[in-house]
Subunit: 158 residues, 2 copies
DNA sequence: CACAATTAAGTTGCGCACAATTAATTCGTG
DNA sequence: CACGAATTAATTGTGCGCAACTTAATTGTG
């Protein structure tokens, strides 16, 4: 209704475009990971484990920005599928360590082609990818900060 | 293990960054929309209705890239909250038209501030936003195309 | 006109994301 | 050492996204 409708609408569409792109990625990953019996979030967990070997749930959550409400059932499914094992730490019984089974490690070979096919599908070159990633990470930081501020000013004690 | 690990890992992170940015947006919208009693997907539906007044579910799905499996329950919730009404079209009884209630229309005023606050939170200027959106839309198209090709070559007749 | 193919919504089932809560363990401080 | 605060996972509940399927109406073709 005001004069800056165009501005406002455009802006709304950044999030919309972002959302669409994110879902498009998921769709492609879904197809590529189907044979491996992995979802995209499960694939991310496997990537982290292939790189680090073993991780406490806490650290996995920090790496992937996911909380236990998401990770606990996800890890349960990965364990049921024989890809990982979970065991309480002896040193700190609050902590649960996730590590690959032999089957989980072996899956790495079969997943080797995935990144290349994703890369090819984007049609972006390395510089473009780097640039896009940088912008997105900057955006994420800005949004996270704003959300925290809104949350604390909205109902907080000030 | 191969020489292009860096390339592969970077690439994986585009999707990761994208996903993170998308969730960060959701988080901020969640805070801003809380008072209105809307989720972000519900807000998108309301935006479409505020713009078009009334829409068949089919067209709503095309605008938002969502299918009936997602929209049907979402619209049911919006209807239960008194924001929209659904009625079967008289001309074509397969089609269901969604239109705003008075309460739904009135909500527009209260949502007027949201885009501005989102815009401010990104820290991006108009050109940057336009550019980012263009890249993301290009990416989405490329990924959608690739997913379709993978799907048809994976199990299709050719 | 009849009937197969198509189209539009809805339903079911599964997995993810996240808020809120709970349970168990560890830490910190008196 | 005791006990409250903090930390770590897990659980519960709600909503979204999507595949697969169902139901009902319309369209197209003979």
């Amino acid at each position: 209704m005001s004069s800056d409708d165009a501005h406002l609408r455009l802006d709304q569409q950044v999030c919309f475009s972002l959302n669409a792109a994110s879902r498009a990625f998921s769709g492609l990953y879904r197809v590529l990971l189907k044979d491996l019996g992995l979802t995209y979030p499960q694939y991310l967990v496997m990537l982290a484990l292939w790189e680090h070997g073993e991780l406490p749930v806490k650290q996995l959550g920090e790496l992937l920005r996911l909380d236990s409400g998401t990770l606990s059932p996800l890890l349960k499914r990965l364990e049921a599928a024989g890809r990982v094992r979970r065991e309480r730490s002896a040193r700190d019984e609050r902590s649960v360590h996730v590590r690959l089974t032999d089957e989980g490690s072996a899956l790495r070979e079969r997943a080797a082609l995935v990144p290349r096919r994703i890369s090819a599908a984007t049609g972006f070159d390395l510089d473009e990818i780097r640039d896009l990633r940088a912008r997105l990470d900057r955006l994420t930081d800005a949004l996270d900060t704003a959300a925290r501020e809104e949350a604390s000013s909205g109902s907080g004690a000030e």
